[in-house]
Symmetry: C2
């Protein structure tokens, strides 16, 4: 943690720089795994799972029975929470569907857009000590609303060759039937090329470690799309003198527990608050479970004093945080000046974790400054918008000559003639 | 041109393969230009323009006077056509703005999305023999509607160090003031890093040759976004026995004149029509200007007979064409089975060139099979959608415990505690 006072604008670039973990050059490894998965399919997946996950699988696919019966392992209060999350995420994402509206741009010229689901999507859920089932909700639910025909879920098996019941339960709950026990680079390769068991997909979603991230980037050259460029998670909080330091500290810590490269930033126009929050962090950290991660990521934590809140918002727009928490009075009056961020949390009783789990907004958001030029995942991420147009005879007689003139200016004679042949025909065959 | 009859599904993959021109490995060149532009700014731009475009510029920026006075060089009928295009493109794209709607997902939990323009966008317009001003309309108009603060236009100078008046006219007409005479890799590098004169942008749009394409791809690693992955232009036409072979041939040729790697495909359930169209192409080509290009690109032209139109649509979805023209009766009944394409043109009097120039739809569309997983450019391409949420005390008391349970299951204790501290406070301080 480091405190800065009224940092000069010349220092902002440096202050906006993200923490970077040393990452190995994985190109060679990714290339090898991709080549072998493409060539040998499931056989290669089994082999790489033994090599990287140290478990020898007999079956890659989770059976329907297994998905079905997972419900027995889920406590009622967790089931209840998951159902609320599902309902809220559905409500929020269903509302993002844009209805078709036909626009008559010129007389007889009708244009519109229609939504079509991306047919095949892949969802990657990382392994590790805890089952990250919330991301299945965040990616699977909009995929279902969009109407994606095929939803493939890949997640690495644990030491006993199985996956957590809650992963199975959530997949089953939202109707994902193709669940595979495969992780890492080999999972991304499988969804890129397809194997005997795993379908090739059009777009791959989901978080992952540096191997998965490198593999998703590599997959792009094979025509697959991905959800978002990768980067460590981050929060920026703007708080004033009335903010509760206990809540602010808790929110900074919640972000910091994600990983050693996570970043938490606090901006305030109150030095007292900055001091109180620093004290609170030291107090709260004692009772938390991920102290190892926290001790590293808190080194990236910045507490910045700005005399004016407006300057704070300017800094925030420069930083372009994945999550932006406003713990200030009259936050309404600042909303319009927020330009670059993934998701905004307003007021003292709106912790980021609400959006992470169940308020209904998506938790897959742009990191690493990409909030300048990317939106978070939404229903749009699973849909293509196709334009349609229909021009009547009258319509073409109306605009045809203008197309000819524009095409001629661009020296595209064949474009011009495609209209000329039609106009000549209409002149001969349509009574005025 | 080659004709296929009822090709077996096993051959579809091959038939859907795009023509590929030999392209050099440009990595080294792109790297060099980027490094020098980053280091030396405008000085490097002047030097590369002399080296690649063979013209020594004294000024990179087109002056406001120069933009203003361009109107004198534009014939009235062209001005009139451009104004119609502008009006139609504006109408169609303004309608794409999605209004903010607040959703109360649970009691006291309000979530919504707001649009924010991408602040700085760059538009690249290729040089060459003809001024491609239509792309300025297609990219500049939605950028203006979105409210992008800074719109930068780069286009290579001609042999006399100037750019075509119609480029200046259209830029001026839609309110683009930052127009620079710089093209190729150096233009993309300039918009990626910024120079003394040219602002760094957040997203780069626009078509280009293999140098520009390679540079746009390279720019991605510096945090810039781009409009779409690149590929040659293409059309797929589905026509039945009632289609007019003159129109169909003209549309195939219009596509084919774009470049040697362009592809035109015709599917029909009528062998007679296929033969008539082939004859017509030979007839029409005589009067066209780009015979060199056409003689090459027509080698990529495929005429495919399918007994059933439905199979034709299935093939089209596999091919995922940039442009899809339906010259069939009762096209309405097929619309819902179209899944993968950029833009659809319906009926005998809806030539693709209408959409290329002025019906109002965008002409920047996914090529090379990317219509499976990408939409064409629209207002959405210039906008980020930021999620907002505000939870009341009552709202958090309502959903708080569910967040705690989910966070605990994912073993994210600090996430859990960020809710617990708030609930504890509310229990003490809020009367039930």
């Amino acid at each position: 943690m480091k405190t800065y006072k009224n940092p000069d604008k010349t220092s902002w670039d440096l202050l906006c720089k993200r923490p970077q973990l040393k990452s190995d050059d994985l190109t060679q490894l990714v290339q090898t795994v991709f080549t072998q998965v493409k060539k040998e399919g499931d056989k290669a997946l089994i082999r790489f799972t033994e090599q990287f996950d140290r478990v020898k699988l007999t079956a890659l696919k989770v059976t329907e029975d297994d998905l079905n019966s997972s419900v027995a392992f889920i406590p009622d209060n967790l089931k209840d929470a998951i159902l609320t999350a599902k309902t809220n995420i559905e409500k929020f994402h269903k509302n993002q569907w844009q209805a078709t509206e036909i626009i008559e741009t010129s007389i007889g010229v009708k244009c519109w857009r229609e939504n079509r689901a991306i047919e095949k999507v892949g969802i990657y859920i990382p392994g590790g000590s805890a089952p990250l089932f919330s991301t299945i909700l965040m990616l699977g639910i909009p995929a279902k609303i969009a109407g994606c025909e095929e939803i493939v879920l890949c997640t690495p098996p644990n030491a006993s060759g199985d996956i957590d019941p809650v992963i199975k339960y959530v997949a089953h709950l939202i109707g994902i039937t193709q669940v595979f026990k495969v992780g890492g680079i080999q999972a991304i390769a499988a969804m890129t090329f397809g194997t005997e068991l795993i379908p090739k997909v059009d777009k791959i979603f989901g978080p992952g470690n540096q191997y998965v991230t490198a593999a998703k980037q590599f997959a792009l050259q094979y025509g697959v799309a991905i959800d978002l460029p990768a980067g460590p998670s981050e929060v920026l909080i703007i708080a004033d003198q009335n903010a509760n330091p206990v809540f602010v500290a808790a929110d900074l810590l919640a972000q910091a527990e994600h990983g050693a490269d996570s970043q938490s930033i606090l901006l305030s126009n109150s030095l007292t608050l900055l001091e109180q929050v620093e004290e609170e962090i030291k107090k709260q950290i004692v009772s938390l479970s991920r102290k190892d991660i926290l001790s590293k990521s808190l080194q990236n934590c910045r507490l910045i004093y700005f005399e004016s809140l407006s300057t704070g918002f300017e800094f925030s727009n420069s930083y372009a945080p994945e999550h932006l928490i406003l713990s200030i009075e009259n936050f309404e009056k600042y909303l319009s000046i927020i330009t670059n961020t993934g998701s905004v949390f307003l007021g003292a009783y709106t912790p980021e974790s609400a959006g992470d789990y169940l308020s209904g907004t998506n938790h897959t958001l742009p990191t690493n400054g990409y909030a300048r030029n990317y939106s978070g995942v939404s229903l749009d991420s699973f849909v293509k918008k196709i334009t349609f147009q229909n021009i009547s005879k009258e319509g073409l007689m109306n605009i045809g000559n203008k197309i000819e003139i524009m095409a001629a200016t661009e020296q595209l004679t064949a474009h011009q003639m495609s209209v000329t042949y039609r106009l000549n025909y209409l002149k001969k065959n349509v009574n005025p």
